[in-house]
Symmetry: C2
Subunit: 199 residues, 2 copies
């Protein structure tokens, strides 16, 4: 088994999908969490200046979703067929597109609030309706077992619910899917033991 | 061979990576280009309301990069090892992150110009320097043969050069990589025959 070291801030954010996959696959890794104050110096040493990065036996991989996909390779988490893998990738990118719309780093609080509010109240309902329709009465988003797209839904929606607690009140099937992910023993154990952070 | 129908606007945009891959792998497909006027009606029929979509024997796949990755599966275009595939995915996402920062649909021309200008003059140099360093004196971004990450570089930079023609003047190695991609016979033929559009 390679030696894995994950580097990110002390938050769920863009690293949590990687942590879920490590937990589910029962793979040991170092969950290295850096201080905000140390970030500028560390940033200048990274090939593309962004985290998370995953060190695999000394080789540095970047981009959270690329890393997550790499870790799921040859496991059912990726989807069982090439077609299912494409569907999982597409759902992950759809969720990620939405999360990336939020101006997380905006410094003007008023501008930030207005944009967050617009996304949560005007844009989110369309996405949630599409996701609900796509899920239908299936157990999982894709195929007949859990994939990393279900994990990503749980992770993204956990953050969206911090921002807007009533977001899923009219989407019981999407809430049920969250509960199913969170009830997977390895995921439940990870959620229990992980550092508690707002985002 | 499945029956492929690609649906997008009459532009390169988010569909061009799929078209490059079809061209390179010599796969027949219908390159269906819709009129802007027909978009609202078509949009309402699509599961996530976005294009491109690829119909594969009647099944609808969405998200351009998920589709592109699906088509490269089991070909060297994806990268030859799991690690190379991760590196290609990461580079594609890095390019895509940057292209997604542009407010393509912004209606206020002044706001749009200011944002485009900022991205092209203040942000792009950092990305280009990172890409140049990553490429180094290698022939291709990843491994020892062309991957879809090289294709995506050519496609994204073609659009960036429309917006800022001198963008690569101090990045000869990145220009050389563009020329190498464009000189691949199947890609050269596609560039020659494709509809000419600005973006």
């Amino acid at each position: 088994m390679p030696n894995y070291k994950l580097m990110y801030f002390n938050m769920r954010g863009r690293a949590e999908i990687i942590r879920y996959i490590f937990a589910y696959l029962d793979i040991k890794y170092e969950d290295h969490r850096i201080e905000e104050a140390d970030w500028p110096e560390i940033k200048s040493t990274l090939p593309f200046g962004k985290i998370p990065v995953l060190e695999v036996d000394g080789l540095l991989l970047h981009q959270s979703l690329a890393i997550a996909r790499y870790l799921t390779k040859n496991t059912d988490l990726a989807g069982k067929t090439a077609m299912e893998q494409c569907q999982a990738d597409a759902l992950v990118d759809t969720l990620d597109d939405f999360m990336s719309c939020f101006p997380w780093a905006e410094k003007k609080q008023e501008v930030k609030n207005e944009m967050f509010n617009k996304l949560l109240t005007r844009e989110a309902p369309h996405l949630l309706q599409s996701l609900g329709t796509y899920l239908g009465d299936k157990e999982w988003f894709i195929g007949n077992s859990v994939t990393w797209a279900d994990f990503y839904w749980d992770i993204c929606s956990t953050t969206l619910l911090v921002l807007k607690p009533d977001l899923l009140d009219s989407h019981p099937s999407l809430q049920t899917l969250r509960k199913k992910v969170q009830a997977i023993p390895a995921i439940a154990a990870w959620i229990q033991q992980r550092p508690q952070t707002r985002l």
